[in-house]
């Protein structure tokens, strides 16, 4: 709660102080009279201000409240006569006579101005406190409070316009005379104390005859022609006559910041009077040294904020429940049909289809292999494709792995070593074939780069440490690459054709790797290839070992046909709800 204000000099004093610290005047009377306020009112009269939005518009409402409830003119019953704050409209249909039309708070202000010598002190205190509040809340945006308050006042003005113009003009003149010059003294003293008002030259002071706050308040109430102060204020604010906005709903106060921060008192006068929209001066943007990255971050933030304001595409709600059900149905149908084909139907019996050229070339290479051939096997697939690779590789490796031949194995995935041992032990279980493990070759891009620059060194540094890499011998009769992806196979094709251009290279691929590697066969870099179970079925049938594949063949056919059916179904059903943009987000 604000401290005690000295009535003499207006200085602020702590609550418990009895005498003013500045001028030594007695403070006690003041505080006791404040305590005697009627119960209905808030404990400290200044609290009106606290309730009224903490700024000067609230001050005015507070002043009006206080007048309606003060003991002097308070009719019995107290509260009722107080118009609820929100209800600004006085019933204009009643026609009060001239004296009654004046609001009681104005009459009371005048009487107190005449009876008590220092009656204005209390009002002054409220003004100063309000000014303190203003200083604290200068940062809060005033415009909203102003506009609602201004609206309220304008409504009141509207209610009063129905009165004859002369009456209001007469009141304005009397009002102006009643507050004679004896008020000037305390007002100028306060201004000097605060040191906040604009240096006015003497001539200006003369012109603003009746420049007291009270007259001004009164003039406001009369709502007659603009008081001179207002003319001055508007000119002072922007130095140019202001054009009143055409339509009503745009009436709002846009006080230029510079004026608000400047003279407090000046501010209080201007803020109360409803001024039409003023052109805000564009403050000169301060020169700030901003680095490019900060500028980018600022732009980014601005873009983010602008983007958030942008109209956002309506995000259609996802029907999670139905998609889960569809997915479950699809799973049950697929697994059910696979189970039925595997366990409840005979293995397929298929005619041997004619061999494509890449198969024929591989078979001829196998037949031409010498008995003691040295072969290099590169395992470049993950454990997920182990089953498929076993199905495709088995018919080829059965023919290739014979006693007397030597195998060297290298792999690129961590599991490659275990997978190669599992596959080779399964195929050559009954044959004694030595297998040389050349190890794990990760980071295939680095090894492919090294393979590409493997020219003999022009000079050697003897003290260099021996490389940890195992070098590939270059006298293999053949290389077999087992791969599950197009990208993995490509790395090794590039390396091996660079390292051993003369050595025949054969590919055993999963279905996923097949389609994109045909050009390597067409260009002759690869001498033979077989990819996927579809081709392996035909290859193994020609070799008379198609048992494992034929067991799975019907289930494989069922799955493929199911996919074809679903694609067509998807096209038929969803062509109606096609993506409305038409153009895809690509």
């Amino acid at each position: 709660m604000a401290g005690l204000i000295c009535p003499e000099c207006g200085a602020e004093n702590p609550d418990e102080a009895k005498r003013c610290q500045e001028c030594g005047a007695l403070l006690i009377e003041q505080s006791q009279r404040a305590d005697e306020q009627p119960a209905g009112l808030p404990e400290d009269p200044l609290d009106f201000l606290a309730q009224a939005d903490d700024d000067l518009p609230g001050l005015l409402h507070a002043l009006k409240h206080e007048d309606d409830q003060s003991p002097l003119t308070d009719p019995p019953g107290g509260e009722e006569s107080v118009p609820p704050e929100g209800d600004e409209h006085v019933d204009s249909s009643e026609e009060p006579d001239a004296e009654e039309t004046l609001p009681e708070w104005l009459i009371r202000v005048r009487q107190r101005a005449q009876e008590e010598e220092d009656s204005v002190g209390e009002v002054t205190q409220k003004l100063v406190v309000a000014q303190d509040h203003l200083k604290e809340d200068i940062s809060t945006s005033r415009h909203e409070n102003f506009s609602s308050w201004i609206e309220g006042i304008r409504d009141e003005d509207g209610a009063k316009e129905s009165q004859p113009a002369e009456e209001t003009a007469k009141k304005a003149e009397t009002g102006a005379e009643e507050a004679p010059s004896e008020d000037e003294g305390w007002l100028t003293k306060i201004r000097k104390m605060e040191g906040k008002f604009i240096e006015e030259t003497d001539s200006e002071i003369k012109d603003t005859d009746g420049d007291s706050l009270l007259q001004w308040l009164v003039a406001l109430e009369e709502g007659t022609e603009q008081p001179e102060v207002l003319d001055e204020a508007t000119e002072l604010a922007d130095g140019a006559p202001v054009d009143v906005p055409a339509d009503d709903d745009e009436k709002h106060i846009q006080q230029p910041e510079s004026v608000l921060e400047g003279d407090e008192l000046e501010v209080t006068q201007q803020m109360i009077v409803p001024t039409p929209t003023l052109q805000a001066e564009q403050p000169e943007p301060p020169l700030v040294d901003v680095t490019r990255s900060e500028q980018l971050q600022a732009d980014q933030l601005a873009a983010t904020i602008a983007d958030e304001k942008a109209a956002r595409a309506v995000v259609k709600s996802r029907k999670a429940k139905s998609t889960w059900a569809i997915r479950l149905i699809v799973a049950v149908v697929l697994i059910g049909s696979v189970v039925f084909s595997l366990f409840f139907r005979e293995p397929a019996v298929l005619p041997v289809a004619p061999m494509p050229s890449q198969h024929e070339d591989m078979i001829s290479w196998i037949e031409e292999l010498p008995a003691d051939a040295r072969l290099l096997l590169v395992f470049d697939y993950q454990a997920a494709y182990a089953a498929e690779m076993a199905l495709v590789a088995e018919p080829v490796l059965e023919e290739v792995i014979h006693p007397g031949r030597q195998l060297s194995v290298l792999y690129t995935s961590p599991m490659g070593g275990l997978l190669s041992q599992a596959l080779l032990s399964e195929i050559s279980a009954d044959r004694d074939v030595p297998i040389d493990d050349l190890g794990y070759h990760p980071f295939s891009a680095f090894t492919a780069y090294q393979a590409g620059i493997s020219a003999p060194a022009a000079w050697v540094i003897p003290s260099l440490p021996k490389s940890g890499r195992t070098f590939l011998a270059d006298d293999y009769e053949g290389i077999i690459l087992l791969s599950d992806t197009f990208e993995g196979a490509r790395v090794w094709i590039d390396q091996l054709s660079a390292l051993m251009p003369g050595t025949p290279l054969n590919l055993i691929l999963s279905a996923q790797a097949g389609p994109m590697l045909m050009p390597y066969y067409d260009s002759g870099q690869v001498s033979g290839m077989i990819s996927g179970v579809g081709e392996a079925r035909n290859f193994s049938a020609a070799e008379g070992r198609s048992g494992a594949i034929l067991i799975r063949w019907r289930a494989y056919q069922t799955g493929i046909l199911l996919m074809v059916t679903l694609i067509v179904t998807g096209v038929l059903f969803s062509s109606g709800q096609v993506n409305d943009e038409g153009e895809v987000n690509a």
């Binding site: 873009a303 983010t304 993950q382 997920a384 990208e487 943009e581």
Partner: protein
């Protein structure tokens, strides 16, 4: 003129063009890059995820250096700062996952330095989580699906090198009501995401990503150099085919 020499000419020309455009854009502005609806909706998805308090997931792929798509891992790292700059307005919620140790170490280094230069290091621990859910493609999938189901409800961005397993990640995110954006992946990865990810950049368009929201000089110079090289390649293919037909080449 051998093919290897032709390769060196391409590298030299690309380096000179890149440096020249980079210097040029220091003084001139250049706004002639096509509008990408996918990148725009990525920004919307991230903003709405931030507003709804949902998490954001960024996957950098499972390989730093691949041979077939060179530079895809480096490209994912180049996009990372663009995702970090959004985090300045939020208190955590972005998790960066990589399926290769080197990628994870690079990502954490970039994130830490970004916070040290820009905001405050204190935010780093609470802010962005860089992790390795699994060291192989399928263990990365297991890590994403099992440890982070609740993290899929916001927006998910897929960058770098990944295969067909990415379909499981995108279905998990879409099933949780999240938004998915993809700018990367092998041919298999892009072909499976073609089915259910609307905001998908295919082929060379994945390289539109870095810096698109706040196109800095380096990205602009890169795009313009790519356009010039692509036009030269198209002209070269046509001229080469004609010369080959007439027997000159």
């Amino acid at each position: 003129m051998t093919w290897t020499l032709m390769g060196w000419i391409v590298i030299g020309m690309a380096a000179v063009l890149l440096a020249a455009f980079w210097i040029l854009f220091r003084t001139h502005d250049f706004d002639a890059i096509r509008y990408s609806a996918a990148i725009q909706s990525l920004q919307c998805a991230q903003s709405s995820a931030i507003e709804r308090g949902r998490s954001r997931q960024l996957v950098l792929g499972n390989q730093l250096n691949g041979w077939t798509y060179p530079g895809l891992g480096l490209h994912a790292l180049a996009c990372l700062p663009g995702f970090l700059s959004q985090e300045s307005v939020v208190e955590g919620g972005l998790s960066v996952a990589a399926g290769d140790g080197a990628l994870a170490v690079f990502a954490r280094q970039i994130t830490r330095q970004y916070y040290q230069q820009g905001f405050s290091l204190g935010l780093h621990q609470a802010g962005v989580q860089t992790m390795l859910p699994g060291p192989t493609p399928w263990s990365l999938t297991a890590g994403l699906l099992s440890t982070h189901p609740q993290k899929f409800s916001g927006s998910m961005a897929l960058l770098g090198y990944f295969g067909a397993e990415a379909l499981l990640w995108s279905e998990a995110a879409l099933g949780n009501g999240g938004d998915v954006f993809s700018a990367g992946g092998t041919l298999a990865g892009q072909s499976v995401l073609f089915l259910n990810v609307r905001d998908l950049l295919i082929g060379e368009r994945v390289f539109m990503m870095p810096g698109k929201p706040d196109a800095n000089r380096v990205s602009l110079a890169g795009w313009l150099t790519e356009d010039v090289l692509r036009l030269l390649l198209i002209v070269g293919l046509v001229v080469g085919a004609i010369l080959k037909m007439v027997g000159v080449l």
